[in-house]
């Protein structure tokens, strides 16, 4: 399988600034290497602060690594320009957790979904609106929704809009950064079903950033466990998955019970 996007020994640290000056840099990623092949569905699993979102941001080109490099189709992202850069921007798309914060509240849904088409493709206006109609249908919304404003939609519907926008330029890789975490459980599962279906139909690779191992088992074929900025484990997802690294086991043990557990009564009436 051809590798679409690769992190090669990337590291990243952040400093915070205050009135007293710059703090000691905090290392968020240390020497992380990861290959994402065409059509793969990879889960990036870790607790808060493990560096999983930062790795996502480096892969998306939102930030540059301090060390190492990110390569798109075997070319370093930092060296891309012109049409090659546009091709990279089209090919790697993202859906974030907070859908309301990810859209302009004054723009119609149609305009929001068409935005990457305006910037990243040469489609004319008629073809764009045709494409928006088809995208709305693909994520389970209706053509009339194109005229609505974000405030007129529910959280689940708006996340579908963000998914439609992300798949609009036909990306080869979709990064989902806790993209279902804000939704209630029934909606989360509907959204996973939609994403699985889209992934198979559009033959995209998916990088699913999450802390919930239960969702990984529904959606991904490979899981990467991240802790303290390092990859702890890289394992195929199988039925009855048992993670081996210490961090993987902690995450697995933290899974909530499937069935009611017995709670001892606190007192007697």
């Amino acid at each position: 399988m051809s590798v679409i996007l690769a992190a090669r020994s990337v590291s990243k640290s952040y400093s915070s600034y205050s009135l007293t000056g710059r703090s000691a840099p905090k290392t968020v990623l240390r020497d992380v290497s990861l290959d994402i092949a065409a059509g793969e569905s990879i889960a990036l699993l870790g607790r808060s602060g493990s560096g999983k979102s930062t790795l996502g941001r480096l892969l998306l080109g939102f930030e540059r690594p301090d060390g190492g490099s990110v390569a798109f189709e075997n070319e370093s992202v930092s060296g891309l320009s012109g049409e090659r850069y546009r091709h990279y921007r089209r090919s790697v798309q993202v859906v974030f957790q907070d859908s309301l914060g990810a859209v302009n509240p004054r723009h119609s849904i149609g305009r929001i979904i068409a935005e990457p088409l305006r910037h990243l493709t040469d489609l004319n206006e008629d073809t764009r609106s045709e494409r928006v109609r088809s995208l709305l249908a693909q994520v389970g919304l209706v053509p009339d929704d194109a005229r609505k404003l974000p405030s007129q939609m529910s959280g689940g519907q708006l996340q579908r809009v963000c998914i439609a926008r992300a798949i609009a330029p036909a990306p080869r890789l979709l990064v989902l950064d806790e993209a279902v975490s804000n939704l209630d459980l029934v909606l989360q599962i509907q959204m996973i079903a939609l994403l699985r279906d889209l992934q198979a139909r559009l033959k995209m690779a998916v990088l699913f950033i999450t802390h919930d191992l239960r969702l990984v088992q529904l959606f991904c074929s490979r899981v990467i466990v991240l802790a303290e900025g390092r990859i702890q484990e890289d394992a195929p997802v199988t039925r009855g998955l048992a993670l081996r690294s210490a961090e993987g086991r902690l995450l697995q043990d933290a899974i909530l019970p499937a069935r009611p557990v017995h709670r001892a009564p606190a007192f007697c009436d």
């Binding site: 989360q188 919930d212 191992l213 529904l218 933290a254």
Partner: protein, 259 residues
């Protein structure tokens, strides 16, 4: 008879132009000390509004149109309820704290609100911080919310809730924004505190895993009404209504090896 807190026939409406949009439509619930009652349902079904309606802390334009809250058999006004009879913890601990105040300020404010601020506040606060597992409680006092992690903040919020010594606790999605490892620890903590302090808890959640871990009984809400109420085991084994079945089935689909 154990001590109870009853929400009776609560109606909440939002005003839209000249007509009312009903958000909570005659909800009645009884909490008993030492028991954890989960209130579950899809987003927008009215769970959180029930909780804030009972305490008289609704957003502007939304009001209680009918109903009352009883502590044992006595009607209690919302302002006498908050902090005294019911303590509350919320979903997003970061936005629940005043960003320019320290944890010590918040503790003093909490105690002042229930008229219990005295020379002893410091040791009581340190004790509450220790109870919720905030290590090195002394060093937490001067911290601001931005200097703390999500898990620490949720522990601090629980500590502030304990300071009031209220017999009942409303926990509105207490672990939704936390990662699974922190979530498991906070749920252990709530379980232990509810038992040790004999708290009556109203646990609002959309995650049946949280319900399975913690709740004794479940009330299912849909479109502003309670549509089903049973023990946790009954809800999992024998759900009666479609909405309940959907919740349980969605949850069970996350556990392919159990189903």
């Amino acid at each position: 008879m154990s001590e109870t807190l009853t929400i009776e026939n609560l109606h909440v409406a939002a005003q839209h132009g000249h007509h009312d949009h009903v958000l909570v439509d005659g909800v009645s619930l009884t909490l008993r000390r030492g028991r954890i009652l989960a209130l579950v349902g899809a987003s927008g079904c009215g769970k959180s509004i029930t909780c804030s309606g009972a305490q008289g802390v609704l957003p502007p334009g939304v009001r209680v149109t009918q109903g009352r809250v009883l502590h044992n058999d006595t009607t209690v006004a919302p302002e006498r309820l908050r902090g005294r009879v019911v303590a509350t913890i919320l979903q997003n601990p970061r936005s629940a704290f005043n960003p320019i105040r320290t944890m010590a300020d918040h503790a003093r404010e909490t105690l002042r609100a229930v008229e219990r601020l005295d020379g002893d506040w410091r040791s009581r606060t340190l004790e509450a911080f220790a109870t919720v597992g905030l290590e090195d409680a002394e060093s937490v006092l001067p911290l601001h919310a931005f200097e703390m992690s999500g898990g620490m903040l949720q522990r601090a919020m629980i500590a502030l809730a304990l300071l009031s010594d209220a017999p009942f606790l409303f926990a509105d999605e207490p672990t939704t924004d936390l990662d699974l490892i922190v979530q498991a620890r906070i749920l252990d903590l709530l379980d232990e505190l509810a038992r040790r302090r004999n708290l009556g808890v109203l646990l609002i959640t959309h995650d049946m895993g949280v319900v399975a871990r913690l709740a004794d009984e479940v009330a299912v809400m849909e479109n502003g009404r309670i549509i089903e109420r049973a023990t946790t085991r009954e809800i999992f084994d024998n759900p009666q209504r479609i909405a309940t079945r959907e919740l349980v089935e969605a949850h069970m689909s996350l556990y392919p090896e159990v189903a």
